[in-house]
Point group: C2
Chain length 395, copies 2
């Protein structure tokens, strides 16, 4: 039986204990017999059923030779980093849901794991319970991945879905999301796209094998999306989603921004708090992976699946990551696509002409049009010369 | 370098050679260095670039100690069975796309593989390139899977999507599908649901660990679906898909039949020739896996991914399967759900009343209604006592 420790007894950490508790026998039958021996947390949990496992001193855990795997569900990049590093240096594998740490220090921790014949796994750090990392590493092994389009943040997808389906305004829906627990009191990281950005940086690093920094990725959240945008989108047969994308066709391009998604795209089925990642690869063409990108048990399940792999393949290096060699991203202005533009009626014809728009949708005081395919740099240049532009959304 | 043989140089077999040829360096960098040494086929391929690899005698391959993996893309359950068995008995792993063989003889072949410290893998046998088997075996390791709803046949999904989007009739769309190569000259296996049935039998066997026989699964194809059904479906905000399902909540239930799929289901995004499998499991809740369920390179990619795993973990048993212990399915009449019923207008009110229908959609000469939730046995009993019933479709 493999002894496991959980670092952090918050939502996901308590979920990890619950998943292992409930499905231990099932996992044993599948080849990994594991048991939670310790739970590390500085807080007290009086009356908690797992009180006997709680410790406040990480060294108690790290000095116990029985411990072979740690599930790190602390969050943050300070103590989680320090403790993960210590564990790996002792040959104890670490499985984490901590996207901030994976993005910031993943390369270093993966290198330490390799040096000490253990593993640093991070399935739960992107897309919660959806097995994205394992799919890319272990399933799409014969594929060259050239593009990833992801709906990777449940908060913003919930908001956009509600705005789309109910015709409600952004502020109203955000408030409702907060009341329902789908958005934080301070929702900045979600609604400004930072959360999705960290996740696509992790995926881009994984696919390229080099470090992609989230701060290098141009990011735009959903705060500028309004009901009029959805009205146009419907007329175009589209929905609007916050898309975190990376493209590997020539070097690596990446961006996070709202996009109009056409009716034929499988990304349309990704609604509410669900996440979905559309991968395009050379042999398989399009494939989509959909599920709960957050939530106690969904996320915990992914952490436990990582622990399962460490236990089942104990002594072997599992998983794949990236080095600390920085990958310089392409100029995001070079990315080509269509752009949806809202413009005052007075300037609509000129805008349609200069942007090569095939279609103009006229509303009371303004119009919406879809440009021809062009690079973002070209597009913005044309925009500079236009009057009456209200906003644009990428396709 | 691992030497691989391909059994069968048809569409998928030549795809396997192509995938390995194109992505060999990439796979080597990922940990599996493989090369195709032989291609087995009784036919001649004059002028083919792989002529030098072609052999007609399987023993040439099986007696070559360099061969560690075979990709079996022959189809059928006679020669493919005999050759797979011989290979496994020599400790040569076999990776296959052959659903007929996997369903019929999988348990035996998996047992032989285990006895000889090699593996019998079959990712490509269900859902083509979508990594379903690997997801169930290696990703959802902490999950108890309780239900699978699959759109597993591209031919029927293409037909139903066309009928839905274009309002075209079944015969017309079938003809078009045949012209485009999406349906066989003899389309029986696809349109009658047999293909989807074999695939769900494989998935049910995998999840349960016991043998589920496709002939035990009640199967209904799409030949009875017409444009009027789609007209009603639209009014109900639904689409109609051929669903191959299995449920593990109490024992195992399974069925293949057309079903109305509600607007909020992610299965709605599975259109045209694409496949999609919706898995419900205890911790993750719903997850969906979408992609090309057929096609030369998509299918070949899955076979090669299996070969990759055999090479990367050479000497270890990889994959999980089932035993030959037969799993007796529950009476399909016990499955509960709603039923959509078309009935003559003269009998609509009585039908609505007896079936607990909340909604009745009136057309010219007939009506459509949705029953309350009930078992199929109960439903059929009520139906016996009703006049004017035209047809029913399950939800």
């Amino acid at each position: 039986m493999a002894e496991v420790a959980v670092f952090g007894y918050g939502t996901v950490g308590s979920g990890v204990v619950e998943v292992i508790d409930k499905n231990a026998e099932l996992m044993k039958s599948r080849g990994a017999d594991m048991h939670v021996k310790y739970v590390l947390d500085i807080r007290d949990f009086p009356g908690d059923p797992n009180s006997s496992k709680l410790v406040k001193d990480v060294d108690v855990i790290l000095n116990d030779p029985e411990i072979s795997v740690v599930c790190e569900t602390m969050g943050g990049a300070t103590f989680a980093y320090e403790y993960s590093k210590k564990a790996l240096e002792k040959g104890i594998s670490v499985c984490t849901s901590n996207k901030e740490l994976v993005e910031a220090k993943g390369a270093e921790l993966m290198a330490i794991a390799r040096e000490h014949s253990c593993s640093y796994l991070f399935e739960a750090s992107v897309g919660g319970g959806i097995p994205l990392i394992r799919t890319i590493n272990d399933a799409l092994t014969a594929e060259r991945i050239d593009r990833i389009y992801g709906i990777l943040n449940g908060t913003t997808n919930y908001i956009l879905t509600k705005m789309d389906e109910d015709g409600a305004g952004f502020d109203e829906v955000l408030k409702e999301a907060q009341e329902k627990g789908y958005a934080e009191k301070d929702p900045t990281a979600d609604i400004e796209g930072h959360d999705a950005c960290r996740k696509i940086a992790i995926l881009a690093s994984l696919v390229s094998g080099k470090k992609v920094s989230w701060t290098d990725i141009e990011t735009e959240g959903i705060t500028n999306i309004d009901t009029e945008d959805f009205s146009y989108a419907k007329e175009l047969g589209c929905s609007i989603k916050l898309i975190a994308m990376c493209d590997f066709n020539e070097g690596c391009s990446a961006r996070v921004s709202p996009r109009l998604i056409t009716a034929d795209s499988p990304l349309n089925c990704v609604k509410g708090v669900f996440n979905g990642v559309l991968i395009h690869s050379d042999m398989l063409d399009d494939s989509l992976y959909y599920g709960r990108g957050a939530g106690k048990l969904a996320t915990a399940s992914a952490v436990v699946a990582d622990a399962f792999e460490c236990v089942r393949f104990a002594g072997q290096e599992v998983g794949r990551g990236w080095t600390d060699e920085a990958l310089k991203l392409n100029d995001p202005g070079d990315m080509k696509g269509r752009f949806f533009v809202r413009v005052d009626n007075a300037n609509a014809d000129e805008a349609a002409d200069k942007l090569g728009a095939e279609k103009v949708i006229k509303h009371d005081k303004e119009s919406g049009l879809v440009s021809a395919v062009m690079s973002e740099t070209e597009f913005k240049k044309i925009l500079e010369g236009l009057a009456g532009v209200i906003k644009f959304i990428r396709f």
